[in-house]
Assembly symmetry: C2
Homo-oligomer: 204 residues x 2
Amino acid sequence: MTDSPFSTKQRILDAAEELFARHGFTGASLRQVTSRAKVNLAAVNYHFGSKDRLIEEVFRRRLDDLNSRRLAALAALHDDATLEDVLRAYIHPALQLSMDSHGGGAFVRVLARAYAEHDNQLRRFLSEHYGDVLKQFAAAFAKRLPALDKAELYWRLDIVTGALTYAMANFGIIQRAPDTSIDRHVEQAAQHLVHFAAAGLRSL
Amino acid sequence: MTDSPFSTKQRILDAAEELFARHGFTGASLRQVTSRAKVNLAAVNYHFGSKDRLIEEVFRRRLDDLNSRRLAALAALHDDATLEDVLRAYIHPALQLSMDSHGGGAFVRVLARAYAEHDNQLRRFLSEHYGDVLKQFAAAFAKRLPALDKAELYWRLDIVTGALTYAMANFGIIQRAPDTSIDRHVEQAAQHLVHFAAAGLRSL
DNA sequence: CCTATGCTCAAACGATCGTTTGATACGAAC
DNA sequence: GTTCGTATCAAACGATCGTTTGAGCATAGG
């Protein structure tokens, strides 16, 4: 029941995440996935039922991890935590996931792609697994930004999320330099994002 | 040589843009495209050579338009233009394109998807058609932000671009309300982005 | 020992993919 | 009127897709 990190299921998930990120959900075939995972082609349908269910599992695995990390970071804050502290609890786990060596970077590109690809189906799936996290953070932000009404706050949080998503996907011109360690790059990116976002959020 | 807006080529481009946005490059088949465009299946390979070349043309058409609009807006500014003015020249044409009724909204989702899908090939294509625009704006920003060194400026411009891209793709929770006109929504989004970005850029 | 269960395997299914072919229609050039 | 290049068409090409099948192998329970 507890499958090892090298079990067939896990190997399929790892390979699928990597290939979905690189070639898209439809672009990556199950034959590519199973070949990379060094398992039989039929193993996907045996363990997951279908390709669509495999895609869902790829999401759930990473998203659950991100959610719990974010909520833990938020819960660890005291009442007198600053706006920057809350921003860091929101931003840092996401950036860390996007850079981690276990294929998290691939996952973020999968995530970005999914918004467009599975138009409303996967979008609903994400909001279900994500809605309460957003609400908890929105409340924490609102407490530190009493001057903003709710509509204005949501506008700005949307902007923050956009900048973060873009940074996670490594889309931008700023990419990790070869002589910078991953941890250091994550710290730099998080620091810039937190600083920028704090100024934007506080602006009157 | 000058093909009408209803020519076979244009109809293919319109249909392809719409379907690529909805289903992805590999997810949308040429049979879907040609069926929607009401042209024969072979017309794509006749007019464009291959599916890949069609994808490139879908990009070039919209991107050239966005580039010229942005540069025109930048050129129209005086020397005493504010940081907000430059931001608006950068942001507003992009948002307008993303909302326009001629399928621009679809194009932006195609754009976002492309970053992940065609790993480096299309990425290079974009930087070639986009590099000088970014440089011109970077210079205009640098002039209004003398306190920022070059590295810091590029970090922050990357953040701005991220927030803008996200907003263009209509990914976020903020979407156009039914009772708000498209133009008004573009104005609102542009105003929020400009305001937020200006604060973030100016922050010490 | 026998059976049942979980898993893997090679092989094949029908469907759909991008692309190519060869025929046909049509207007301009000479 | 004939020729020539452009454009459209139905039909087919081989390749690859997701999925299914049925046999084979292992291990645990009786």
